[in-house]
Symmetry: C2
Subunit: 165 residues, 2 copies
């Protein structure tokens, strides 16, 4: 029996218990991850040393995966986005793992999902224009022996959730 997840298995370490303070800290960091430790501690009403200790624990235990930045795709000359659902040939599932590793490094790929259901995965791509998307599909999907079918939907708007944790 092969595992369900196609790429490197993740730790199944039980989720560390987060208290209300942790959640408020994560909420603040989600809004602005460059806030200084001091500013964070003030907003939380705790000592800077405590705040720092919390943050380190959150990083060490993997609750915080990384601090990152959201970039406007248009600024990078990537004004168009698409979602591409992909179905693999029945006999080609074992190729998903290597396929996944390759995809991750393709500049147009913003994120992708492995799915349970009719389609095997869904790729979110960010590109210059529709020709660029077509080229992506031809080069990285259609030409792949493992791919049975693809379906591309252009994205009118992409919204990130902003709810509290």
């Amino acid at each position: 029996m092969t595992p369900v997840t196609p790429t490197a298995p993740k730790d199944l370490r039980p989720a560390p218990e987060l208290d209300d303070l942790d959640r408020r800290l994560l909420t603040l960091l989600r809004e602005n991850s460059r806030m200084t430790n001091q500013a964070l501690s003030e907003r939380l009403g705790i000592a800077p040393s405590t705040c720092l200790a919390r943050m380190k624990t959150l990083q060490r235990t993997g609750v915080i995966r990384r601090f990152t930045v959201e970039v406007d795709p248009r600024a990078l000359g990537r004004g168009i986005e698409a979602l591409i659902s992909v179905r693999l040939r029945a006999g080609a599932r074992h190729l998903m793992s290597s396929f996944s590793e390759g995809l991750k490094e393709v500049p147009e790929v913003s994120q992708f999902f492995f799915l349970a259901g009719a389609d095997d995965f869904l790729i979110h791509v960010v590109a210059r224009d529709t020709d660029h998307i077509r080229q992506f599909v031809l080069e990285h999907l259609s030409s792949n022996q493992a791919v049975a079918a693809t379906q591309t939907s252009l994205v009118f708007e992409h919204v990130h959730g902003s709810a509290e944790l």
Copy 2:
């Protein structure tokens, strides 16, 4: 004629020209947005003051939308993800805007896309378990008069792209 995008229109300000230095700076920040200005300037081979000036410009012009953090959903007791595609009733398109605003504030909603194509949008939700997802669909989608149909796919794995800019 109503606009295509259902939520607040975005600036159509032309993308500011980014040079190689800007792109390298963004790449570094994407890997770790809490790197100090000094460390960033060293990696780029420029003075700290120059690095700071670049970063401020990127923020001011909207190239950098926000500094944020990626949190492991499992740590929040949200161990399961799903993608839900939604088709609206033909006469209900005018409700998309208010629908969108509401969705953004629902804690389970990680992101969503407005689409051109057969489906009207696609919602990425993060939940405790499958019951939680079912409850989300019932409460926020099926019960909505504007929704004609939904289709839920569970996510086995969610991968973020890590290609250079």
